[in-house]
Amino acid sequence: METLGTFKDVETATRAVEGLIKTGFPEETITSLTSASYPDGVIVKTDQRTWFRWAAVGGGIFGACSGFLLAAGTAWLYPVQTGDKPIIAFYPTGIVTYELTMLFAILGTIVGMFLEMGIPPWSARPYDPAISEGNIGISVSVDSREQMVRAGKIMEAAGALSIRH
């Protein structure tokens, strides 16, 4: 469950974040929703470590193997006999391997990025379209109805324009 408060500006939003932390909500359960990227720590602190790069590496390795198998395998299965030339030529095999490595590394990056972001979401999550117009959203993950009400009250006291669950 999630409670989302929408604020007019950064000042009121940060007041809400401080209020939530003071009343016992762990900082890692609080996040900001903004339509422009703010430097880390201005509104909330976020873990900067990511793992999606490994998806890019995995994609690259998969692409390299596929590219090599495609070009070298083709040459091996359908040999073109040319005097004094290798059946599996280095140049074309290298090019096809390189291109497929890059292609799958790019695809791995995109897929990994979406997986790490958790989008598209499996279920509906609270959101306010006013965030696109410059308002700041503060969202907190809650475990119970009591916490939800408490979070809502803190955000209202800090100056929230609206509260959504």
Partner: protein, 455 residues
């Protein structure tokens, strides 16, 4: 637009201004789209006529079997080069002035590589068997031969089309969410799907920034490889004038020249049409002008090296090709040298010229005219005068080829016009980020602008 002005405007106001291209179309827009569509339709009919008849309706004949179609292919691949590359380099170097330019550049890449990819297919004698290119099990026992440079092209262009489309989409993701939140009805549903449920959480922004940087780093080597491979189409042959080690870097430099010039031309058009004067300022033209100046100097150096080596060695057949080209195509050669070298180098040295929108429009258009000529002069003279004098010949494009060429330019413009109506032409959230990161701080006796960067 300065960071100061950005900070002074509300987010809603900035959204309104930067999304102005997506307002309901006017009759002028419909007129332009109809005209471009008509030119494309004319080109398609010419191509259909070619397909129904045969290649005899083109100017192609022995010994010149690569003509304006392949010149088009090389030109459009070159044009596609810089969009993504400029955007990627500016992203990696965190140049803040890049922000309003990115989208125009990235979209240009996707559309020009799409047009480029059509030309090898158009050029085929039997276009309907183009699927023979695809490696899939079949009863005919056919399998693509990867020793052919054309297969390298097909592989590289596929990678580049997919990579640059994803690069464009990735950069647009937060903007699509803004458009989704402002749209209504069926449009809202479509943008909601495209925005993939983006909400702009702090975590999403962290991953997004890192993914943008990684994609930029991955796309640059792909861009370089694509044009190097196109150069190898020529350089790995033994045709005089083509068999040259400098071709891949020379092609890459030419591609960047052409692409940077096209990005500037598009910036000028977008600025004027969508009234984005506050976002695409003289500073942007000044910086892009400096970049173009450096690239034109490099191109001139590469061209000089290529010509002086041929001249000094005076190898008979190489010299014959050069003499034939400079003799038969003198006006085109002079126009190319003026457009790609003399005019940009002489003009762009001056700040006043770089900051003049009109001067930049003239220079950048001439650069691309010069670049198209350069592609033509690389292909046709070498094939006209190959090693055996008894098969020397000439080539001039037929109305069919010229119609298809006109359709390519119209098709590219049409795709751009449609894109501008349905997607943000300026990276809205990227530009707005400058505003939220800007602050004035006191330093000694003065107040100075300060911009927060990530650690």
């Amino acid at each position: 637009m300065s960071e100061h002005t950005l900070a002074a405007k509300s987010a809603g106001q900035l959204n309104d201004e930067m999304l102005s291209s997506m307002r309901p179309p006017t009759w002028r827009w419909y007129g332009l789209a109809f005209f471009l569509g008509a030119v494309v339709a004319w080109g398609i009919s010419a191509f259909t006529y070619q397909m129904m008849t045969d290649l005899s309706v083109t100017g192609l004949d022995r010994p010149v079997m690569w003509g304006i179609y392949i010149a088009n292919f090389v030109f459009w691949v070159g044009l596609s080069h810089s969009g993504t590359m400029v955007s990627a380099i500016l992203r990696l170097s965190q140049a803040n002035w890049r922000r309003p330019i990115l989208r125009a550049a990235e979209a240009m890449t996707v559309f020009s590589i799409t047009v480029a990819g059509l030309f090898p297919v158009i050029h085929l004698g039997r276009n309907w068997v183009v699927y023979f290119f695809l490696p899939y099990p079949n009863q005919r026992g056919l399998w693509p031969n990867f020793r052919s440079p054309l297969l390298w092209d097909a592989t590289a262009i596929t990678t580049y089309i997919i990579g640059s489309s994803l690069f464009l989409y990735l950069g647009m993701l937060p903007d699509l969410a803004v458009v989704r939140d402002r749209a209504a009805g069926w449009r809202k549903k479509i943008y909601a799907v495209l925005a993939m449920g983006w909400r702009g959480t702090a975590r999403e922004w962290v991953v997004f920034r890192q993914a943008s940087t990684l994609m930029a780093a991955l796309i640059i080597p792909v861009a370089v490889s694509v044009h190097s491979i196109v150069a190898w189409d020529f350089a790995v042959t033994v045709i005089p004038g083509w068999h040259s080690t400098i071709f891949p870097p020379y092609f890459v430099i030419g591609a960047i020249t052409s692409g940077v010039a096209a990005v500037i031309t598009l910036m000028i058009i977008i600025r004027r049409v969508f009234h984005l004067e506050e976002y695409l300022t003289p500073l942007h033209f000044d910086n892009m002008g400096k970049l173009l100046l450096v690239i034109c100097l490099l191109w001139s150096y590469a061209y000089f090296v290529e010509v002086q080596t041929t001249w000094y060695a005076h190898e008979p057949i190489e010299w014959e090709v050069w003499s034939f080209m400079s003799g038969k195509y003198t006006p085109l050669l002079i126009l190319m040298l003026i457009g790609n070298s003399v005019l940009p180098i002489a003009g762009l040295c001056f700040k006043k010229v770089r900051r003049s929108v009109k001067a930049m429009l003239v220079i950048t258009l001439l650069v691309n005219v010069g670049m198209f000529i350069e592609r033509y002069l690389i292909i046709v003279p070498s094939l006209s005068h190959k090693n055996m004098p008894f098969v020397w010949g000439t080539y001039s494009p037929s109305w069919v080829e010229l119609s298809v060429t006109a359709a390519a330019f119209a098709g590219f413009t049409l795709m751009y016009v449609l894109f501008a109506k349905f997607f943000p032409m300026v990276a809205v959230t990227d530009v707005r980020e400058l505003g939220v990161r800007h602050t004035d701080i006191s330093l000694g006796r003065a107040k100075v602008h300060s911009l927060t960067e990530e650690k």
